[in-house]
Symmetry: C2
Subunit: 457 residues, 2 copies
């Protein structure tokens, strides 16, 4: 009784999810290789053209669309097709035939049996004229009906895979740090508070402190890809209250350059994989050419960037801005692209006044930090730095920022018992996809967007 | 100015994090290949033996421990070594020499220069006699000093890599679903509430609803590895308020068997990778032999399991229990191991009364579900099921459970417009590591444990 039946299909090729009982599923993209054969296709009714003598049903799966063609008769099939609705889920068995007249790949499916798996109600709540908010409300329908919208996640998957490949190869351990924190330590202002068994907990704004703990814990190099939370009431196209962060931290570094080298090589490696797998689809769907960047990326110091922006590019004529704003970032990026042909640029040596207390500072320059941002096509996609690893200096820098060190006790303790030099960076995954695909908003770059006004679906 | 200097070391071999300025770091594990050569080692002072004529310093990095041997003199080096403290971070350059008397690999390092990177304060807050709670309080020190504790994360990294490899190969897209939800939909009782811009949000107990939305959204197969949150006041060795879930959902399935086949093949693939890379270390550190399971795993129905447990195994003599308790799970697992030699067993067809409303039910058996748990070495590590994909049936099942469907609106809407049959499972990553390494508590299987009484460090 405890011995199961053997598998009728090889578990080594789980691409076709045909189960034990049914016929093996053929994906629409595979039909061209099956002309003249009987296949089973499973997908959604994209379009119904029910004419007086002919019935045409366009069926979509995640790989494409096929025309199902049936001559009307007194048969059961005719009645079944007549009763279909747009977006119903169907499984259709029939013969694949070549037909040069058919636009969808010059082939069609002549149905022998149709199984209505789930009938869609009508009318559909959104259509191709719907605005962005209704599309977000009905995100699943919008994704299902727009291959370009779904492509984002195939690309994201590959991009992550490429980054992980690089990180593993470079000796990193993948980590899962807590999102629940006992104190609002990093910066109280933008932290979500939650009820926690009669007390309070806080949601981590980043794995920053925890990944540094891992380095202090003797895990040589770490990375994490996971959610981060920001209680910022920001309503821009590039902010969210929850997004996916890619965090890396490297122990025993000699300088911050090492961190930048790691990042540029990781990105180049991942983009090569994206270009190889999705380059053609990205061109078709977004009109964008994926360019695998050469390394090293260009680097400018913040001081150089500001000189350049104020001098040649007419930015901030009042000379009031300490940090780059989105306009400055776009202007700088565009300049670098013109001068070097490079879509990426590291801006380094940010003033200490606009960086967190834990960024290390160059010897003799307490006004600067050993930090960087990475811009890609005008968008800030990363912040990184060497961390201050000496307890006394760290405490001094926190005091200088006027921080209360009591909630920082666990963090600061990591530096009292021999924490080595280290550094790392945090990257916004959605922003990377925006920059890569030229998306106008983070809303299109994430599966289900979360903002101050949006917690659904 | 925007052209950086070229790299002095190949970015293709970033294993040795020696920076631009310093000597390349040699890992302790690599020293045996460098006998007679000058190297730079970076690590922590594990032990100091400062004798009248000789100074012995054991230095540990993440790959091993090496003895540094210096004959005392009037030199600067002698003074520097004399001033070291346990757990200080040091960088030492010297010559590797063979010395059969030395226990640590029959070699030692004769130092030429020592750099004190960060001096550790003393005394250390924990030692080898410290109990579990102080160890958790000082987790970073405990990890740094115990290779067995760190091995957990190397194994976890490899295990995840193996699972991802399988999932990608099987056509899955990696997904990041929101952890912030607008309603406490899945089950109100065990959900954390947080302040959200003057209102409330809730933390996702699992990606369950969202991964189903992805299937309805035409993403054929999805997986996610990310945090899940449970507001349960459970104080057992296998519960946490936050843990890492591995979630898979497969669209267009024919039956729940397909989901089980996916899971067993994924686990077998991942364990083969773990055995290959870490089998020897796991044997050394935990005395455990990693066994790559054969597939298919044994399967018993819940009814069969209960008969077996009550009949042969003396479980629940009162006959009162509908679900298996941990004792029953251990007894069943032990029985299967004796009978089949298999560490895994699927328990299937759970009663509908103890399963969520969205589990599908077999035709004609509304009292059962098409669901399963997976037990590994007596521990429940997974729950899975085919999902009910028909809107009317789903609403009926929710009503039968007495659920308020208003907060479920967005979820239920996914089923109104042609949602295909689908199924999936959720696995606790920490529990997998417990079962694999024979750990006594989830606290040892996660980087930083979170429970009702623990939100730090």
């Amino acid at each position: 009784m405890i011995h199961p039946t053997t598998h009728p299909e090889s578990p080594e090729s789980p691409k076709s999810p045909g189960g034990a009982g049914g016929a093996e599923r053929t994906l629409v993209a595979e039909l061209a290789e099956r002309i003249g054969r009987r296949v089973t296709v499973a997908g959604w009714v994209q379009t119904l053209r029910l004419q007086s003598t002919m019935q045409f049903v366009l069926v979509r799966d995640h790989t494409g669309v096929v025309q199902v063609t049936h001559r009307k008769g007194a048969d059961e099939l005719t009645a079944l097709l007549e009763g279909l609705t747009t977006e119903s889920a169907v499984r259709i068995t029939g013969r694949v035939v070549a037909n040069p007249v058919v636009k969808l790949g010059g082939l069609e499916l002549l149905p022998e049996s149709v199984e209505l798996l789930n009938r869609a109600a009508g009318p559909l709540p959104i259509d191709e004229h719907s605005g962005p908010e209704p599309r977000l409300d009905w995100r699943f329908l919008d994704l299902r009906r727009r291959p370009a919208a779904r492509l984002v996640f195939a690309v994201q998957s590959t991009f992550e895979q490429g980054m992980r490949e690089y990180a593993y190869g470079a000796g990193c351990t993948e980590l899962h740090t807590p999102k629940l924190m006992g104190t609002a330590s990093e910066s109280g202002a933008e932290v979500f508070r939650l009820d926690y068994f009669g007390g309070s907990a806080y949601l981590a704004q980043s794995p920053q402190f925890y990944k540094q703990m891992a380095i202090a814990g003797g895990i040589d190099r770490v990375f994490e890809i996971g959610p981060v939370f920001r209680a910022e009431p920001s309503y821009t196209s590039r902010h969210a209250t929850e997004f996916t962060g890619v965090d890396v931290e490297l122990g025993w570094i000699e300088d911050v350059e090492q961190v930048q080298r790691f990042e540029e090589e990781m990105i180049a490696h991942a983009l090569a994989l994206v270009a190889e797998r999705h380059g053609e689809q990205i061109r078709e769907q977004y009109g964008v050419e994926v360019r695998v960047p050469s390394t090293p990326f260009p680097r400018v110091t913040m001081e150089q960037a500001q000189q350049l922006l104020r001098g040649e590019l007419g930015w901030d004529p009042e000379g009031a801005k300490v940090d780059l704003d989105p306009e400055g970032e776009r202007a700088l990026s565009a300049h670098i692209l013109r001068e070097t042909g490079h879509e990426f640029v590291f801006v380094t040596h940010y003033p200490a006044s606009i960086r967190p207390f834990y960024h290390a500072r160059p010897a003799g320059r307490p006004d600067l930090t050993l930090s960087f941002d990475l811009l890609w096509n005008g968008l800030e996609v990363t912040t990184g730095a060497q961390r201050e690893h000496r307890y006394e200096v760290l405490v001094e820098q926190a005091a200088e920022k006027g921080m209360d060190t009591a909630p920082l006790t666990d963090y600061l303790n990591c530096f009292r018992f021999g924490c080595p030099p280290h550094g790392g960076f945090g990257m916004g995954l959605g922003r990377m996809l925006m920059a890569l695909l030229g998306l106008g908003s983070l809303r299109e770059a994430v599966f289900l967007f979360r903002g101050p006004n949006r917690l659904t679906p």
